[in-house]
Symmetry: C2
Subunit: 253 residues, 2 copies
């Protein structure tokens, strides 16, 4: 892992890095650099961005800044075929198909699920080596609790990651659903950690029954569904506050 840039503003230290060909960002409270004496390892939340978005999309940066204000660190990487990363011809074809269907107002959940499952195969080992490397840096003061926060694409990549990665102990997921013939249900059924799941009642991309079926599939003893009226992009402003309280409850002892 090679840190390539560092900016400190408003009490937040933002360090860009690359690991192999994965570009990422680590956010931590600015005071962290002075206090990495290992007194207590800092909780870290991995942030998965949405489809067509990237590691420094406004919503991702906003979440990172809120987490650091609560004393936690946050990290994001560009998902395969997103942000600074190259798109293969196959990626371009899949994305074009999805965009055409959306433009025509056609159902896209099956195409999104199939393409995202392909991306997940690539994304999971990338998140895992990134987490390995982040826990080896001095920035976190050791190996602390780890959470995952990602909606939409961030959930379809996040569910198999959370199912595969025992270091992650709390997750905020949502804006994704089951299509009846995908691998997401099987991965969700292996998740037993506390989950907060967001669903938009009038989601034009994810029919609410698909979202409810995905929430139902989690094996977690503690799981909470937050469903709000409105479309895919209309998650209310009070939900990130709630997600933050969820992580504070589970990751800060």
């Amino acid at each position: 892992m090679r840190f390539t840039a560092e900016i400190t503003s408003d009490g937040v230290c933002e360090r860009s890095f690359t690991l192999d060909d994965i570009p990422g960002v680590l956010w931590s409270p600015a005071a962290a650099a002075d206090s990495s004496d290992g007194a207590q390892a800092r909780p870290l939340v991995l942030l998965g961005h949405g489809g067509g978005q990237h590691k420094k999309a406004p919503a991702v940066v906003a979440r990172a800044r809120r987490l650091t204000a609560c004393g936690m660190a946050a990290a994001a990487i560009d998902a395969p075929a997103h942000g600074e990363r190259p798109k293969s011809e196959s990626d371009q074809r899949c994305i074009a198909t999805i965009r055409e269907l959306m433009a025509d107002g056609e159902p896209v959940i099956s195409q999104i699920a199939t393409y995202n499952a392909e991306l997940a195969v690539r994304a999971i080992p990338e998140w895992q080596v990134t987490l390995d490397a982040l826990q080896r840096t001095g920035d976190l003061g050791g190996t602390g609790p780890v959470g995952y926060w990602g909606l939409s694409l961030g959930t379809t990549l996040g569910i198999p990651l959370v199912a595969a990665e025992p270091r992650i102990t709390a997750a905020v997921l949502g804006l994704s659903g089951l299509t009846g013939h995908d691998t997401l249900a099987e991965a969700a059924a292996r998740i037993t950690i506390p989950v907060q799941f967001l669903l938009q009642w009038d989601d034009q991309l994810i029919p609410k029954d698909c979202g409810l079926a995905l929430f139902d599939a989690f094996a977690s003893r503690e799981k909470t569904l937050h469903a709000n009226s409105g479309g895919h992009g209309d998650v209310p402003a009070f939900e990130p506050d709630s997600s933050l309280r969820f992580f504070a409850r589970h990751l800060i002892s």
Copy 2:
């Protein structure tokens, strides 16, 4: 309205009252008695208790104390056939039937819906005259915003009340559902104020599809469903905090 007792403890003034044959309680911040100079009317949240409960059940008192800590007032009355109020022979028969079905593990949602609809016919005008009288007392410093907070029976009585009463502008409801042949759907469809609705995913009394159908029925532009794993009595401890933030957001300007 006749105030019959007053106790002040831990910064909360609790005043018992009777209005005709309705016994009730008004909670307000202890400082309120000194500052009822009408500077700004205090928000008031009406608290509906659960089935078999009463106006001073522990969950009701806990909600009232949290509301007063945020500067709001709260009021509860005994629902018909509950608490200090007499049960008619018909009430006793309905309650006995529901208890027998529950003891046998049989579905009870239809019987509960039918009985609660009867209670609602009596409860709605009682809540309305109580609200009239409370707004005339000096305790609230005038006519401020009004909310409603009730689960289970508190919701089946609360929905027709909220639909009928334009003074109520925000409501926390839940642990209730549609049975397919009740009047609750029609009342829910007349509700347009912000609603936070709680549902227990493994509710042994209210099948989750009935709860989801009720949430779907509200006409509110802003409505949020909070569904948690667990049975009817297992609403997590973080939900009342969330309900409190909901009221603070909508009733405190």
